[in-house]
Amino acid sequence: MSAVLDHHGDQGHDHAHDHPHGWRRWVFATNHKDIGTLYLLFSFTMFIFGGILALGIRAELFHPGLQFINPQLFNQLTTMHGVIMVFGAIMPAFVGFANWMVPLQIGAADMAFARMNNFSFWLLIPAALSIVIAFFLPGGAPAAGWTLYAPLTLQMGPSMDAAIFALHIMGASSIMGSINIIVTILNMRAPGMTLMKMPLFCWTWLITAYLLIAVMPVLAGAITMTLTDRHFGTTFFNPAGGGDPVMYQHIFWFFGHPEVYIMILPAFGIVSAIIPAFARKRLFGYTSMVYATASIAILSFIVWAHHMFTTGMPVTGQLFFMYATMLIAVPTGVKIFNWIATMWRGSMTFETPMLFAVGFIFVFTMGGFTGLILAMAPVDIQLQDTYYVVAHFHYVLVAGSLYAMFAGVYYWGPKWTGVMYSETRGKIHFWGSLIAFNVTFFPMHFLGLAGMPRRYADYPMQFTDFNMIATFGAFWFGLMQVYFFLFIVVPMMRGEGKPAPQQPWEGAEGLEWEVPSPAPFHTFEHPPKLNAAATKVIG
C-alpha cells in the first residue's frame, strides 16, 4: 500500500523505507492510514461475530418451540449481538473511516496525537476479548439486553463484570479517538480549508466527537453504579436499599440517545460526499446541512425518555419528550431534502457507492417514518418493546449506518487499496443486501403491530410465518456479507483488480482525490496550497 509516486500531494519524499515492517508496523502503528485499516478490519471481524449471533437468534425463531437454544442462551445472544454490533462494529468502523479520511480531506499529515491513536485502537482488543470470554464464564454471557437494565443486571453472573470492563475500555478508546479527531480537525486543517469549506464528513465527525465526549462518561457512570451495586453493597438501582431502577434507565438513555446519533451522523457525512460525486453537482445547501447536523446533535440530548414511555411518566413528561422527539424529524427531513435537491438535475451515474447511498436515503427514511410513529406516546404504548421497535432500529442502523459504510468502502476503497472493485460484484452485493434486508426486517413491523414482544425465545404460533420469512432473509443477508468479504474485500486487499486512477470518480471533489491511489504512506507532509473552494491542491 505504500508505493510512492511522485506527486504534488506528497511533496515527493520517499518514506516507504522508514516505517517498521512486519508485525511492528501494526502493533506500533502511528500512521493514520494503518490505524484506520486496523479499525476497519477489527470492526468487520466484530460485525461477522455479531452477525453469527444474530443468525443464532433467527435460527431459533424460525419455528415456534425451542429447537436449538434454551431461553437463557437466547437472551445472551440478543444481548451480545446488540453490544457487539453497537460498540464493536459500528462505532469502531466509523472511527476507522475518520482515521483514514479526516487527515486526507483536510490536508493534514496525520492525526494530531499519533501514539494516542495507536493506544485507542489497541484498547479495543482486550475489550473484544473480554466480551468473547464472557460466553465461557460460569452462567454464560450477560443476558440483560444491550441496555443492561437494572435490577436484572444484579442477577447476572461474573460475565456482567467482564462486559462492564469491556464497555469501560471501549468508552476510554472512544473518548481518546474523539479528542484526536477534534484536535486534528480544529488545528491541522491546511491553510485555506476554513471550517465552512470543510467536507461534510469532517463536520459530521467533529459534531459526533463532541457527542461522544459528552455521553461516554455518562454510560461509564451508569455501569460503574451497576458494578458497585453488584459487589460493594451500594443500592443505586436496588429498591430494597432505597435505590431506583428507573433512574438507571434515565442515565442509560441520556447516553443512549445521543449514541444513536453518534452511529448515524458520520453516515450522513459519507452520503453527503457520495451523492454530489455521482450527481456531478455540488452538494445542495451545504450550510444548512451543517446546521441541521448540529441541531440533531443538540436535540439528541433532550429526547432520551422517549425510550421510557411505558415506565409511567407524568403527563407533562410524556408530552415534553413526545414533542422534542417529533422535532428531530425537522432537521433530519432537511437533510433528506438537501440530498434529493443535490440529485435533482444532476448528471447521475449509479456505480455501487451511489447505489448504496441512494439505498441509504430510501431505506433510512422508512426507518425515520417508523421513528416518527414511535415518537407518538399513545402509539408507542402499543409498540414499545415489540418487534416494531426491532424493525425500526434495524432500518436506521443497518440500512442507515451500515449501508453508508458500504457506500464509503466502495467509494474510498480504490483510494485505500489502489485497485478498483468489480462493479458487477458490487451490484450483486447491493441488490442482494437490499432485498435480503427488507425480507428480514419488513415483516417485523407486522409482528410488532400484532404485539409480539421482542427478546422472546418462543412465541405464539400465529406469528410463525412472518418469523420464517425474517429468518430466511437474515441468512440471505448474512451470506451477502460473506460474499462481500470474499469477493470484494479480499481481492481489494490483495491488490487484485484494475489499478485505480488517482481520481476514479468523475464528479468527486476533495483533497483525498489529490493524492495518488493507493494513498502513499505519508501525505500532505507540508501544508498544501489550496484553491479558493479548498477542493484542489494548486502547487
Binding site: 431461553p71 453537482k281 455540488r282 445547501g285 444548512s288 417529533m326 432537511v334 417514518f369 404485539g451
Partner: protein
C-alpha cells in the same frame, strides 16, 4: 484463485444443505395448523389488535393517521427522487445544473415539516392526557410481576380482597421445551386469568418483587412497566365481554417469554357470581368459626395472636409496665367468669386498652385462652370461638 474457487464451491454446497433443511422444516410446518385467537394474535396479523377500549381505538386511529401522512410524504419525496433518478442520468444525456443553494427553499422545507409535526402532535396530546387519567376507577387491581408469573390483588371495588397468582399453564412450557407447540393459545394459556367486569373503569396498579416486568394487553391499548419497589398505574374500560391476551413486555430474565397475561372480561352478573365464588373459596380456606378446639392447639394459636397484637404493651412476659396492666396473675384473667375479660378485649377500656373487635372470633378465643394458660396463669379454662360470637351480640 484456486482456493477461492474451492471456498465458493464449499459455500454452494453448504447453501444447498441449508436449503434442504429449510425445505424439510417447511413441509413439517404445513402439518401445523393454527387459527387466529380472538382477543389474542390473529394468524399473520398485519395491524394492531381490534380495539376493545376507547384508548386502544384512539391509538389505532392515531396510527392510521400517521400512516397516511407518512405515506403522502413518502410518495411526494420519493416521487421526486425516483423521477430524478430516471430522468437526470448521465446515460440519458443529462447535463448537471449548477445550483447549490437557496435560502428560501431551505426555510420552506424547515417550516413546512415543523407545521406538519405540530399537526401530528395535537391529536396525540389529547390521547396522552386521556391515557394517563386513572382517577375515578370502579375497581382497582394490583398486578405484581414476579419471576415469572403475575400476582393479582383486588384492592378496591367489587371483589375487594380477592388475590391469586396467575402462571403459564404447565403443558405450554413443556411443549415449548420439546419444540412441539400446538394450540391456538400456545404460550398464552394461564391457570388463573384475571377476571374483570365489562364497561367498568379498571385501574391496574403495577409493581414487581424482583426485576422490571411490563403488563400489556394489546386489545386494551395498555402497557405499563411493573417496577420493583415502586407503584405505577394504568387503566382500561373493556367494552366487550371476552378473553383478551397479552405477554410480559420487559426483559425479565430466562423465562421472559413464559409469563402471559389473560384477562377474562365478564358481564356484570357473571362477574358478581365469580366474585361470590371466590369469596366462598377464601372463606373456606380461613378459620371455621364453629370449630371446637382443644386446649394446646388453641394456646399455640393464641401465642401467635398475642405476639402479633398484645406483646408490644403487655410485654412477652405478661407483666405490662407503667400504666399497662399485667396479665400474669391478673384477677380479670384468672376469673372463672370469662365475660369480664371478653368484654375488655372486645370493647377496650378508658384506661387505654383498645378494642380488638377487628380480630376474628377464632383469634380472640385463641388469645384469651392463651393468657389464661400461660406464665403463672394455669386456669385450664378454654374459650371457644362460638363463645366470642355470642359475646359480640
Amino acid at each position: 484463485m484456486k482456493t477461492m474457487k474451492a471456498l465458493w464451491l464449499g459455500w454452494i454446497e453448504r447453501a444447498g444443505q441449508l436449503g434442504l433443511v429449510l425445505a424439510t422444516v417447511l413441509t413439517t410446518q404445513v402439518a401445523m395448523a393454527v387459527n387466529s385467537l380472538p382477543g389474542g394474535p390473529a394468524v399473520n396479523q398485519l395491524d394492531m389488535h381490534p380495539p376493545v377500549t376507547a384508548i386502544a381505538r384512539e391509538q389505532q386511529w392515531l396510527h392510521y393517521f400517521m400512516m397516511i401522512i407518512c405515506l403522502v410524504i413518502f410518495i411526494g419525496v420519493f416521487g421526486v427522487m425516483f423521477y430524478s433518478i430516471f430522468k437526470h442520468r448521465k446515460s440519458k444525456g443529462a447535463k448537471a445544473a449548477n445550483f447549490h443553494e437557496s435560502t428560501t427553499v431551505e426555510i420552506v422545507w424547515t417550516i413546512v415539516p415543523f407545521i406538519i409535526v405540530i399537526f401530528m402532535a395535537l391529536p396525540a396530546t389529547k390521547a396522552v392526557v386521556a391515557m394517563k387519567d386513572t382517577s375515578a376507577a370502579d375497581i382497582t387491581i394490583k398486578a405484581t410481576g414476579i419471576q415469572w408469573k403475575w400476582g393479582y390483588d383486588y384492592l378496591k371495588g367489587e371483589g375487594e380482597g380477592i388475590g391469586f397468582i396467575s402462571t403459564l399453564d404447565v403443558a405450554q412450557r413443556e411443549m415449548s421445551d420439546a419444540g412441539k407447540p400446538s394450540g391456538d393459545d400456545y404460550l398464552l394459556r394461564v391457570d388463573n386469568p384475571l377476571v374483570v367486569p365489562v364497561d367498568k373503569k379498571i385501574r391496574i396498579i403495577t409493581t414487581a418483587t424482583d426485576v422490571i416486568h411490563a403488563w400489556m394487553v394489546p386489545a386494551f391499548g395498555v402497557k405499563q412497566d411493573a417496577i420493583p419497589g415502586f407503584v405505577r398505574d394504568t387503566w382500561f374500560r373493556a367494552e366487550k365481554v371476552g378473553d383478551y391476551y397479552g405477554q410480559c413486555a420487559e426483559l425479565c430474565g430466562k423465562e421472559h417469554a413464559y409469563m402471559p397475561i389473560h384477562v377474562k372480561v365478564l358481564s356484570a352478573q357473571d362477574y358478581s357470581s365469580w366474585v361470590d365464588g371466590e369469596k366462598k373459596k377464601i372463606a373456606a380456606k380461613s378459620d371455621d368459626p364453629s370449630k371446637v378446639w382443644v386446649l394446646p392447639e388453641l394456646v399455640a394459636r393464641g401465642e401467635k395472636v398475642y405476639n402479633a397484637n398484645c406483646s408490644q404493651c403487655h410485654q412477652p412476659n405478661g407483666k405490662g409496665g407503667g400504666p399497662i396492666k399485667p396479665l400474669d396473675g391478673s384477677p380479670t384473667v384468672l376469673d372463672p367468669d370469662k365475660s369480664k375479660q371478653l368484654h375488655m378485649v372486645l370493647n377496650g377500656s378508658a384506661n387505654g386498652m383498645p378494642s380488638w373487635k377487628a380480630l376474628s372470633d377464632t383469634e380472640i378465643a385463641a388469645v384469651v385462652t392463651f393468657t389464661k394458660n400461660h406464665w403463672s396463669n394455669a386456669t385450664g379454662q378454654i374459650v371457644q370461638p362460638s363463645e366470642i360470637a355470642a359475646a359480640r351480640k
